[in-house]
Symmetry: none
Subunit: 416 residues, 2 copies
Amino acid sequence: MFRVILIVGDGMADRPVKELGGRTPLEVAYKPHINELARNSVLGIWDPISPGVRPGSDTSHLSLFGYDPRRYYSGRGPFEALGVGADIKPGDVALRGNFATVDDDLIVLDRRAGRTLPENQELVKYLNDNIGFVDGVEVKFYSATEHRVAVVLRGFALSSDISDTDPHEVRAKVLSSKPLSNDENAVRTADIVNKLTLMTYKLLKGHPINEARVKKGLPPANIILFRGAGSISYIPKLQEREDIIVNRCLAVSATAMIKGVCRLVGFEVVTPSGATGGVDTNVISKAEEVLKAYRNGYDFIYFHLKGTDAASHDGNARAKIEMIEKLDRAVGHLLSNLDLTSTVLAITSDHTTPTSVKDHTGDPVPVMIYSPELIGDGISDFSERSARKGSLSRIRGSDLMYTILDYANRVNKFGA
Amino acid sequence: MFRVILIVGDGMADRPVKELGGRTPLEVAYKPHINELARNSVLGIWDPISPGVRPGSDTSHLSLFGYDPRRYYSGRGPFEALGVGADIKPGDVALRGNFATVDDDLIVLDRRAGRTLPENQELVKYLNDNIGFVDGVEVKFYSATEHRVAVVLRGFALSSDISDTDPHEVRAKVLSSKPLSNDENAVRTADIVNKLTLMTYKLLKGHPINEARVKKGLPPANIILFRGAGSISYIPKLQEREDIIVNRCLAVSATAMIKGVCRLVGFEVVTPSGATGGVDTNVISKAEEVLKAYRNGYDFIYFHLKGTDAASHDGNARAKIEMIEKLDRAVGHLLSNLDLTSTVLAITSDHTTPTSVKDHTGDPVPVMIYSPELIGDGISDFSERSARKGSLSRIRGSDLMYTILDYANRVNKFGA
């Protein structure tokens, strides 16, 4: 069995960029180490979900790790909560929430409490300090961007089969959450969410922060509206899966959502100092963490670089090229410190984020897999274009994980 | 409609072999007939299950014949029984078993009765002669390698949803099989398996073979421990399927497991004299059987060659090359005796068995399909590498069977 290092440039794949003369950032970037490895690798293109379907970072990562997202993805609530660093277990119910403004009759005046809410974290801490439990169920709020929060309910016999309290329009009254089935657990959970809604109102309406906001002419953040209840179905950890053989898994990432998904499927997670998730991230310190894990005997190491996606969402092709060149230097650092006779190394992107679109698209992404047991395709450039000619051809979804692990001799036989 | 001959070199596909200068046995082998046919064929690569997933011989053959193994494969019990020549029907429950050594309190002293058990067949015959039925359910034991057996239960209202009697450790007591659901049939089947376990103990403990073994200082084979209960779900025979048109199907093979799967899906099976399943097999006599069936009007003929896999499991690249060259001569013999204006001929491998790994891997395998109605790809060499450039591209699972039958005009329309 070989050890595996999987390297992902988040949103690294692109479409031809006009200002680059119709080439992509990956084609333009100076990346001698990646190209040298490419020459000895098999190349191909990979559809993170299926052709044309635009992946989220959550669904594409489930897929990347060999979990069919159509089976295991359970809605935005729990994954948004993962994205803000929540710890979620099967059985928990997670909801998305907004700080909002209501009047004394609970009529919604502003669904986003003005949208700008620098006091978000402070208010979330206040709620957590003063609620804790509702009817024996543990309640934990997590602060997100602007007016957004996530909440996780943990306890026995909960169900996410409940409706929103968010009326999704202004001048409407806050809704009562209702069970969407006859399930007792849903009846109970809806009741808890309704109680929780009133508690947020009672705690927030007279809070000094809101008094100050009103004085400044800003809408008070005096209630939380809930929507998108979901729970995570049982996901077997990588180590528990009978079809593959991986034991010690480590992920190096600075991105909350990715770290959440990684933990969910059984990775230990480390964020090295200087790793920011942005274009200013320290890539070499990430490579150092990878090497440390490699020396310590981890058999599956995931190296995630967010900066390429951040540059793409900004529509900044130049910054993206720079990130890819940083990644190349990190790959070079790895290559000179790894034993390539017993290591499988794969490089890909979790989805395409064209700098022209500034968002994820459903295009296939290039992938390259180096294995000591394979003769490479001899393609000495790694890009969206060159990978189309590779011998891996076009594979999809969780096929990639199995293909990588197969070349590392870590897939168990299906059948006899 | 054309007639179809499907030729499989078991485990024929390989990875680059160091001692062959990085080429594969298929690349190195002298195979003028296969290559001549390749030039007029369409080529491609095929994933027996899906990319990266390592197939067993059973699952890959289900797939090869157009049956999704994720739907039809029902665990090792029944397929292991098929592998030792058992006749299994839907509704039967099959279990794997070990001859084991227990003391008077049914504490397991040796789960394998010393592992070496040349008396296996004789003891199995004794059990079959003296048991026959338990509670109206027919019981038949089949001898397997070393200490292993398979048992098939046949009768109404059986269920494989039961636990093992094998405690899977020594110094533990033989377990009681328990129903794993509330299903009445499971309760009844567990009860039968428990009675059967005690019967094997009563019959075996005083058997002269065991008395002789004890005298020689060998552990007596005085009970059978059962595990892995499974049953085969209903599998429509090829002839019964409404999506394809095949009538008379013949398989030429010398391998018990393959013959079992072939029978299960509707093939008549023949093992010509001199066919051994090993590297010493007489390939020309197999080709003769194919030609006989062809002249007798069979419309789907399967030609299975095991020797390539046997050589691979031994890690013997030279023997593998020799087997491929034998196969080539058999193909030559076929080509000079077939009417190629009305015959579709496909050559592939059921999975990759790299001589470096000595076991099946999940790599894609090359496939070539000759049809009188197709213009070939003009690729005059059939190998793992060349097939990547073929026009079939990369297909998976049961797609191959449909593709072959489509080129023989034997697929019914889906829709109007």
